[in-house]
């Protein structure tokens, strides 16, 4: 067959037709640009969101690592370095503790971090850092928390800090120079010293208690079997501990699934928007194409005309969308973050070329898929069919004898074109569901909830002298009632502490002593430990920790204890707390056993009801005795001492969490008292809030973009549908339906759209949110639906659904009935 050169004609036809429809062109360019822009924005915001979220999580743990080995030997370090999946190893050795600063008890541990640990594992998690890592022996770097504890609120690099340092063999007073300070979300009281200092401190790098090898793996996917193999290859001694994060890969996978699910939803929404516009505009042009066919244009040529137009429009729409998206995600949002959060100087909107390539590719793909089907059906339509084509009515007969109520007419109108109705419902449903999911992710990842899950109390006041030889009772009954009288305070729980002598340690604690001596003193219990206990009995004491009734009830509930409050108050039973991995088994044997002890020459005994698992109970007193703490009641301790027992710290509950006023009132009360330290939940929250706000802004933008996509789809489809029905509306008007009645019918249609899509969104959206939440719930937070946001959305969506039909009708209605009839 001879090839006919008709390119020119086709080109001209495509161009002429396009020129005649400026509105459609603009609408399509807008839709393509909008969808592309949203894709770019959502992708890059999503990536930023994930980065910030991840960073916050890292910061809460204080350093970035996924494996750890305690007390590593040179040999073991080399073995770890040789491991296939190991990327970085960093070393940290706790060398000394700051015991006191200007008469204030501090207790900050100073650690030497090797270069890897410092650069790869610590620096990434700092929010800000001033100065540099200590180089000289007398240099020290401290966290702002540690400085605050020392009473230094305005630190300066180079300032001299005379402090009393606790070496493993005793206290020494030294003048240190501050080489730098930092802040992180962990709020840890910690500091760093130079390599020279560490080398001179006499602590060995394989010290079980003080030395750690931190490991980063090259992949997050480490199986439990691999962990076991690594552990085996390290030939650990009995008290060494090796840990590899085997859950990270699993968690990442879950997060990836959620991210892909959200991205998928965006893609579907974008697809629907473009598809709708193309489909509707092509349908309107059926007559034109029919005419072209009658004069001999082939199906292929018609398809070419359609595609040519779309490609031309995409060439404007896609780049415009990419530029807009880049503007939003790299300029607008960072700017918003910086203006709205005073503390943030800069916000890294990371430029990821892959996002733009992906978004552009997807838009193009969507356009082609959207166009292919209508183009094909138009191309294949017979010319006569095309010329006659009208919006088809219903063919199935209808047995209704009652005639049509306005409500019934509305219902039929909604489902007149089933495909279109489904598209509208789908758009609204997807938009609203995505909004629900995203806003519930934001809601449940909020700093307050995390603090709640970690059981951080509103305020804790700590007695700095706790554990010293000369303890000062600062939390007297008077002081406590003063705190209680503050308006916003709900309850004050004093936690008291009393040191006791364990009278039969060798019989009753035999299983505990062996591992404990190895860990704490690095000696064998039988050979040396026993003698040490005889020589210096004052070093081997136990502690009774006193709780009030409410705390007992909480503990009882948490550990499902069966003991009665009476037994607890009488000191007949107690609970052993703050156990560690190495001593847990030894202590577990004490459950339901009797322990004998002595206090001021009185011989006493107590039954142990329960031994807490390692890390099961976070909160305890500030110092450790050699023997584990036994929880009893405050009442019992007061009876034992015959007076007010020493209170280690106060746990304060507020009437209303995050009550700034109460916080300030308490702080001003203790301001002058140098023995009192505090831990305020508000302060910790403020610290986390910076990233919290970043998450909030980005998440909200995503949520709104998604909802907007859905609503735009709805607006687009519905307005086109009403325009295409303008003839019916004119007929109704000609046979006597008043404007009022038409509006009522349209309102009913809106109600049907709103009702059905809201129903589905509420059910599916919330179930899906819960599912995603459960998949990504790291902190074991209880689920909470973002009620305000959802109500706002439902209200807004319903409002649009209800009033849009009438708004569109108003445009049509401006013409007279005759014009409306004639236009069709």
């Amino acid at each position: 067959m001879l090839k006919v050169n008709n390119r020119k004609v086709i080109k001209r036809l495509a161009r002429t037709q396009m020129k005649q429809q400026p509105l459609k062109n603009r609408l399509l360019v807008l839709a393509v640009a909008l969808a592309t822009m949203m894709l770019v924005a959502v992708f890059s915001i999503g990536i930023n969101y994930y980065t910030v979220l991840n960073q916050r999580n890292l910061s809460m743990y204080g350093s970035d690592y996924n494996g750890m080995l305690t007390g590593p030997t040179e040999e073991q370090i080399n073995v770890v370095k040789e491991m296939k999946k190991v990327k970085t190893v960093g070393m940290a050795v706790g060398s000394v503790t700051v015991a006191e600063y200007e008469g204030i008890a501090v207790g900050t541990s100073l650690v030497w971090a090797d270069e890897n640990h410092w650069q790869e594992q610590l620096q990434p998690v700092f929010i800000h850092l001033v100065g540099s890592y200590p180089q000289k022996k007398e240099e020290v770097m401290l966290s702002e928390k540690a400085l605050k504890k020392m009473g230094v609120t305005q630190p300066e690099v180079g300032m001299v800090l005379p402090m009393s340092l606790a070496y493993y063999d005793g206290l020494r007073d030294e003048e240190m120079i501050l080489s730098g300070y930092f802040n992180d979300y962990s709020g840890k009281n910690r500091g760093f010293i130079s390599k020279t200092f560490y080398q001179q401190s006499g602590i060995k790098s394989d010290d079980l208690d003080r030395s750690r090898l931190y490991i980063n793996f090259s992949t997050p996917f480490i199986s439990e079997q691999e962990e076991a193999e690594m552990e085996e290859s390290l030939k650990l001694n009995k008290y060494q501990h090796f840990f590899a994060d085997t859950e990270m890969g699993d968690m990442l996978f879950k997060v990836a699934v959620s991210v892909i699910a959200i991205a998928g939803v965006i893609m579907i929404s974008g697809y629907l928007l473009i598809y709708n516009i193309v489909y509707i505009s092509l349908r309107k042009e059926v007559l034109y194409f029919g005419l072209l066919k009658t004069i001999g244009t082939t199906s292929r040529q018609i398809r070419e005309i359609v595609f040519r137009q779309i490609i031309l429009l995409s060439m404007i729409g896609i780049p415009a969308g990419l530029i807009l998206g880049a503007g939003i995600s790299n300029y607008l949002i960072p700017k918003l973050v910086v203006t709205m959060i005073p503390g943030v100087v800069s916000f890294r909107g990371e430029f990821q070329p892959v996002i733009y390539v992906l978004a552009g590719f997807f838009s193009l793909l969507t356009i082609f898929i959207s166009v292919a089907k209508p183009a094909k059906s138009i191309a294949q339509m017979s010319p006569v069919e095309a010329v006659k084509q009208e919006d088809m009515g219903v063919k199935q007969s209808n047995k209704s004898k009652t005639g049509s109520s306005i409500r019934g007419m509305a219902w039929r109108n909604v489902f007149r074109n089933k495909k279109q109705a489904i598209l509208v419902f789908l758009s609204l449903f997807i938009g609203m569901t995505s909004f629900t999911v995203v806003s519930s992710i934001i809601k449940n990842n909020n700093a307050k909830k995390i603090l709640e899950a970690l059981e951080v109390s509103d305020m804790e006041l700590l007695n700095r002298s706790s554990g010293d030889d000369n303890q000062v009772q600062v939390f007297s009954k008077d002081f406590i009632s003063q705190i209680e009288s503050i308006k916003g305070v709900k309850a004050v729980h004093p936690v008291s502490a009393l040191n006791i002598d364990i009278t039969k340690p060798h019989e009753q604690f035999s299983a505990y002593l062996k591992p404990e001596f190895e860990m704490a003193y690095g000696v064998d219990y039988e050979k040396e430990g026993r003698q040490m206990m005889i020589d210096r009995p004052e070093n081997f004491f136990g502690t009774l920790v006193g709780l009030d009734s409410q705390q007992f009830q909480q503990m009882k509930k948490k550990f499902q204890l069966t003991i009665s409050e009476k037994e607890f108050h009488e000191g007949r039973v107690g609970v052993i707390a703050r156990t560690l991995e190495h001593n847990y088994q030894g202590l577990k044997a004490l459950e339901n056993q009797r322990i004998d002890y002595r206090f001021e020459n009185r011989l006493l005994e107590i039954n142990i009801d329960y031994v807490t698992k390692p890390f099961e109970l976070f909160d305890s007193i500030q110092y450790n005795g050699f023997f584990p703490e036994i929880y009893v009641s405050n009442q019992y301790l007061d009876r034992l001492t015959g007076s007010e027992t020493f209170v280690d710290h106060l746990v304060i509950d507020y009437q209303q969490a995050y009550d700034q006023e109460t916080d300030l009132e308490i702080l001003s009360m203790i301001k002058e008292n140098k023995h009192i330290d505090h831990e305020s939940k508000i302060e910790r929250y403020e610290n986390m809030k910076e990233s919290e706000n970043q998450l909030l802004i980005m998440g909200t933008v995503i949520a709104f973009v998604l909802a907007l996509l859905g609503l735009l789809n709805y607006i687009n489809v519905l307005s086109t549908s009403i325009f295409s029905r303008s003839k019916d509306l004119a007929v109704l008007s000609s046979i006597g339906m008043t404007t009022q009645q038409i509006k009522k019918m349209l309102l009913h249609e809106g109600m049907i759209y709103a009702g059905i899509s809201l129903l589905f969104s509420v059910i599916v959206g919330n179930s899906l949110s819960y599912l995603i939440f459960s998949l990504t719930n790291v902190y074991e937070i209880t689920y909470e639906a973002p009620l305000t946001m959802l109500l706002l959305l439902y209200f807004f969506a319903a409002w649009i659904c209800l009033f849009l039909p009438n708004l569109v009708y108003r445009f049509i209605h401006r013409d007279s009935v005759v014009d409306q009839l004639r236009n069709n």
Binding site: M392, G393, K395, N398, S400, K727, V731, S734, G736
Partner: protein, 223 residues
């Protein structure tokens, strides 16, 4: 009694050199029960005249009385209500609602008015127009002639003062057209129904009681 009275009807479009006088001072009246045909060539102003009589469009000048009501005095919504009570329309393109069945299409104007449907009367209309067995069909399943009969039934349903028919046979073949016209004439006689029908076909116009001729927006003759 006069069912319809038109006085000096004028409808102008555009201005200056582009001024088009679609209707230029037309006056006439129609008695109750009369079947009047308005004829004229394409562009003579027939359809415009009908739209003005039915209150579907606004006049530049002049007045229309239907029974005793001057419809130019009515607001848009009052006019709509007046229309559904007093005027029945039959269009060239039938203009049935595609989602309503035959019965629903017919009774809709009555229901929109909140009135009770006179079932006996509707049944009579259906039978008279040969639609009894098509009561529950959807318009799309009907032939052109059947659709136009439904439109006539709809116009009759509310027992209006006047039926305005705009080229009711325009989309029909000549046999069907004659059937439909016969029915129109028959209903006019049977229920003493006033009908004003527009047509460009002189043969069809002959079936009417009276013929009004229009040319360039002016009345040429009334016989």
């Amino acid at each position: 009694m006069k069912s319809l009275r038109a006085e000096n009807l004028k409808k102008y479009y555009g201005a200056g050199n582009n001024l088009v006088k679609a209707l230029d001072g037309i006056s006439f009246s129609v008695d109750a029960g009369e079947f009047v045909a308005v004829v004229g060539t394409s562009g003579s102003g027939k359809s415009t005249l009908l739209h003005m009589l039915g209150g579907l469009d606004t006049l530049t000048e002049g007045k229309v009385w239907i029974e005793h009501q001057d419809i130019s005095q009515l607001s848009k919504d009052e006019l709509t209500i007046f229309r559904r009570r007093k005027i029945g329309f039959v269009f060239q393109s039938f203009n049935l609602l595609p989602l309503q069945n035959v019965y629903e299409n017919i009774v809709l104007p009555i229901q929109l008015d909140g009135q009770k449907v006179d079932e006996e009367y509707i049944q009579l209309i259906l039978e008279t127009l040969g639609l009894a067995d098509k009561k529950f069909e959807m318009p799309n399943n009907l032939s052109g002639g059947q659709q136009q009969r439904v439109a006539i039934a709809r116009a009759l349903a509310a027992k209006p003062a006047i039926i305005l028919a705009d080229e009711p046979t325009g989309n029909l073949d000549s046999k069907t057209a004659l059937d439909v016209l016969g029915l129109l004439k028959f209903t006019s006689k049977k229920w003493h129904q006033t009908i004003v029908m527009i047509t460009h076909n002189d043969d069809f116009a002959q079936l009417a009681d009276r013929i009004i001729r229009l040319e360039d927006g002016k009345l040429l003759g009334d016989d």
